[in-house]
C-alpha cells in the first residue's frame, strides 16, 4: 500500500526494512543515534536532520555513533564491507569527503580491480548534497561529478521519495560501493511510497515528463526545476521531455539518446559547478553518440564557476532556476 511520504521518511523506512531483513546491515555515522555517552535521551538526535530517528529503538547496537573522524569510520565501514557486513555509513555532508576521500576513491573504489576481481565491497555511503539551505560554501556543494569520475564507485541521486526508498534498498543490496546523495532540500518533498520493500534498479533513467520538442536531462533537485520550466514552456506550446537520471554511475545514456533522437534538442541541467560536470559529461557523450540527431547546439545549465555563497540573495542566483532552463530551451528552439 502506498502512502504519501517525505523523502526523509522514505530513507528512514528503507534503512529500517533492510536492517530488519538482513542482520549484516549496520548503520554508522556522527550522531546518527545521537546522545551517545550523554546523560540525556537515547536516540536524542537520530541524525543531524533526524533522518535516522527511531531506528535505534528497533535495531539497537547495529546503529553506531562515531567519533568525529570520517577517515577512520568511513574506512572502517569499507573494511567491514569486505568482511561480511553491509555497512551504511553516513558522511553527513558530502562536502566533508575531503577528509576521507582516500578511503572512498583509492580504497573502496579500487579493491575489486586491484585485487583482480577477488573482493566485493558492498558499502553504502549516504551523504547530503546541494544548495539552498543557506549553509554556505562548505556544506552546500553538489560534488556528484567528482565521485562519478571515479571508476569503481556507483553514484545515486534521487529526486523524490519513491526513488529514494527503492534506490537506497538497491544500494544496500548492491555488491559495489555506492555513494548515495540526498538533496537536503528534498527531504521534505513528498510522494507516494509503497509500504513494502522494493528496489529501483541502477542505470535506468526515469522519463518524468514526455515531450517531442526538447530533452531536458537532470537529477536531484534539478528535476523539479526542469518540471517548472517544462510547465512554463508547455503554455507556449513547447513540449519538453524530462529525463531524471536517478543514478549517475552507471548512467542510462541510452534513454537520453533515444529521447534526443525524437526531440533533436538537448539541455543538460546540473546543480554542480560547470567544469567537468555531469552536464558536460552527458552533453559530450550525446554530442558524440547522437550528433546526427541534434538540431541545435546542446545547452548546459549549471551553477556558475564559484563556491556556493552564503547570502540567500546570492545563493538563489547561484542555483540553476526554472528561468535559466527556459532560456536554454529557447536557445535550442531559435531558428
Amino acid at each position: 500500500m502506498a502512502r504519501n511520504l517525505s523523502m526523509k521518511d522514505a530513507i528512514n523506512e528503507a534503512l529500517d526494512q533492510e536492517m530488519a531483513r538482513d542482520p549484516t546491515v549496520i548503520v554508522m555515522g556522527e550522531d546518527i543515534v545521537g546522545g551517545s555517552g550523554s546523560p540525556g535521551e537515547d536516540d536524542a538526535w537520530g541524525g543531524v536532520l533526524g533522518v535516522t530517528k527511531g531506528l535505534y529503538a528497533k535495531h539497537g547496537d547495529r546503529l553506531i555513533d562515531t567519533p568525529l573522524s570520517e577517515s577512520a569510520y568511513i574506512g572502517a565501514a569499507i573494511g567491514a564491507s569486505t568482511c561480511g557486513l553491509r555497512p551504511v555509513a553516513e558522511l553527513m555532508f558530502l562536502d566533508f569527503m575531503g577528509v576521507c576521500f582516500d578511503q572512498i576513491f583509492n580504497q573502496a573504489a579500487k579493491f575489486r580491480y586491484m585485487f583482480g576481481g577477488k573482493a566485493e565491497t558492498p558499502v553504502t555511503i549516504r551523504a547530503m548534497v546541494g544548495a539552498g539551505f543557506r549553509a554556505a560554501a562548505q556544506h552546500s556543494q553538489m560534488l556528484t561529478p567528482i565521485v562519478t569520475h571515479i571508476p569503481g564507485l556507483k553514484v545515486v541521486c534521487p529526486s523524490n521519495a519513491y526513488d529514494a526508498k527503492g534506490l537506497l534498498i538497491q544500494s544496500i543490496r548492491d555488491n559495489d560501493p555506492v555513494i548515495f546523495c540526498e538533496h537536503k532540500n528534498l527531504y521534505a518533498h513528498e510522494s507516494d511510497v509503497p509500504e513494502e520493500s522494493y528496489t529501483v534498479p541502477f542505470g535506468e533513467a526515469n522519463i518524468v515528463r514526455e515531450g517531442a520538442d526538447a530533452t531536458i536531462v537532470a537529477y536531484g533537485l534539478m528535476v523539479h526545476r526542469a518540471s517548472e520550466a517544462a510547465e512554463a514552456l508547455a503554455k507556449e506550446g513547447i513540449q519538453c521531455e524530462i529525463v531524471d537520471l536517478r543514478t549517475l554511475s552507471p548512467i542510462d545514456i541510452d534513454s537520453v539518446v533515444e529521447s534526443v533522437e525524437n526531440t533533436g534538442r538537448l539541455i543538460c541541467v546540473d546543480e554542480a559547478n560547470p567544469r567537468c560536470s555531469i552536464a558536460a559529461d552527458v552533453t559530450a557523450t550525446l554530442s558524440q553518440e547522437a550528433f546526427g540527431s541534434l538540431k541545435a547546439a546542446p545547452q548546459l545549465v549549471t551553477a556558475p564557476h564559484t563556491p556556493v555563497p552564503f547570502s540567500p540573495a546570492l545563493e538563489d542566483l547561484y542555483i540553476p532556476s526554472a528561468e535559466h532552463i527556459v532560456d536554454a530551451v529557447r536557445k535550442t528552439m531559435a531558428p
Binding site: G40, A44, W45, S69, P307, S311, A313, Y318
Partner: protein
C-alpha cells in the same frame, strides 16, 4: 576600592569584561533573532565559553593568527573583528565582513589575524601551523593558534598538526575547547581518555588543562604557553573545560542533555557571573562600572543589528566576483 590583586590592571579587567559581555550579548541576540526567523543558515553560538576566547586573545596582537571553528563568533570578537561587520555578515548583507559570501561559519578578518571560522572540523589546525611557520620564517615574532572542540580534536588533521608543530618547533598553540559535546555526542563516548593534554604529550607537545569558565585561570595559563611559543620554546596544547549555554546549533532541542543541566550551567558555571563576583568581591572593580559596560554593550549590539537589517543585500554582480585574484 582595594589594591588590584589580579594579573591585569583595572583597565584591562574592564576591557576583558567588555569583550566577554560583547560576545555574550551578541550570541543572546542572535538566539532571539534566529528564533524569529530573521537569520538564515547554521548558527553555532559561543555563549558560555567567553572566558576562553577572551583570556587567551588578550595575549595576542594582530600579527598573531588564529584559525577558528564553526563556533567562531567569540573568537572573532575577542580577536578584534568589528561586530557591525560580523552582524551584517550573519544577516547575509553586502556590508558584512565577507560581503555576505561567508556567513556565520566563515567570518574572517586577516587584518586582525583572524584566519576564518571554518565549517570543516579540524581544518584550522594545519592552517594555523602554516601561520606559525610563516611567523617563524619571516621572524616577526607572531604565533599561530588553532581552536578545536572536543569533537574536532579527534580529527586526523588536528592530530597530524600536533606532530608537525612539535617536530618543526613552531610558535604554535593548540586550544582544545572541551564543552563536553560534539553535537549530541558526549566527549566520554568519543574518547577513551580523560584529557587531550595527555594525548598531546604523546606527540611531544606539552599540555595544560584549565577551567575554561575561569577567566583568570585561562589568562594565566595562556600567557605562559603563548610566551613560550613566542620565545622559540615550541608548541603547547591548552584544554579548556567549558560549557555551552545553547544547543549545538540554533534549533537544537538538546534532548541529549541531562535534566537541569542547562540551568545548572547558567547558575554555577557562567564565566561572566564568576568574573563579576571575583573582581567586585575583591573590591577592585566597582559593580557600577560593569553595569555601565553592560548598557554600552547592549546598545552596540542593538546598533549592529539595526545596521545589519538596514544594509543592502549583495546583488547579481557579486555572485561571480572574488573567486580568483585574477583568472
Amino acid at each position: 576600592m582595594n589594591d588590584n590583586v589580579f594579573p591585569l590592571g583595572n583597565e584591562d579587567l574592564l576591557e576583558a569584561y567588555r569583550t566577554m559581555k560583547t560576545i555574550r550579548e551578541f550570541e543572546e541576540r542572535l538566539h532571539v533573532d534566529f528564533g524569529r526567523g530573521e537569520i538564515p543558515g547554521f548558527v553555532h553560538l559561543y555563549a558560555g565559553e567567553e572566558a576562553a576566547a577572551t583570556g587567551i586573545m588578550m595575549h595576542l596582537n594582530d600579527q598573531d593568527r588564529i584559525a577558528s571553528t564553526h563556533r567562531g563568533h567569540g573568537h572573532c570578537i575577542a580577536k578584534g573583528v568589528d561586530i557591525n561587520a560580523m552582524m551584517a555578515e550573519i544577516y547575509g548583507k553586502v556590508t558584512g565582513a565577507c560581503r555576505g559570501k561567508g556567513g556565520s561559519m566563515h567570518i574572517a578578518d586577516l587584518s586582525k589575524g583572524m584566519m576564518g571560522a571554518n565549517g570543516i572540523l579540524g581544518a584550522g589546525s594545519p592552517l594555523a601551523c602554516g601561520a606559525a611557520l610563516a611567523a617563524k620564517t619571516l621572524g616577526h615574532g607572531g604565533i599561530g593558534m588553532s581552536f578545536t572542540g572536543d569533537g574536532a580534536s579527534n580529527q586526523g588533521t588536528f592530530l597530524e598538526s600536533l606532530n608537525l608543530a612539535a617536530i618543526w618547533n613552531l610558535p604554535m598553540v593548540f586550544v582544545v575547547e572541551n564543552n563536553g559535546y560534539a553535537e549530541s555526542t558526549s566527549v566520554d563516548y568519543a574518547t577513551a581518555v580523560d584529557s587531550y593534554a595527555d594525548r598531546a604529550a604523546g606527540f611531544g607537545v606539552p599540555g595544560v588543562i584549565v577551567d575554561g569558565t575561569d577567566f583568570f585561570a585561562v589568562y594565566e595559563a595562556a600567557g605562559e604557553i603563548i610566551r613560550r611559543a613566542r620565545e622559540g620554546g615550541g608548541p603547547s596544547l591548552m584544554e579548556c573545560k567549558m560549557v555551552r549555554f545553547f544547543g549545538h546549533f540554533e534549533g537544537d532541542a538538546q534532548t541529549y542533555r541531562g535534566a537541569g543541566e542547562n540551568e545548572h550551567n547558567r547558575a554555577n558555571r557562567d564565566c561572566l557571573k564568576l568574573f563579576r563576583a571575583r573582581v567586585t568581591e575583591a573590591d577592585v572593580i566597582d559593580g557600577g562600572d560593569l553595569d555601565a559596560i553592560d548598557s554600552e554593550v547592549l546598545a552596540a549590539i542593538e546598533q549592529a543589528v539595526e545596521q545589519a537589517v538596514a544594509a543592502p543585500l549583495p546583488g547579481a554582480a557579486d555572485l561571480t566576483t572574488d573567486v580568483y585574484v585574477r583568472y
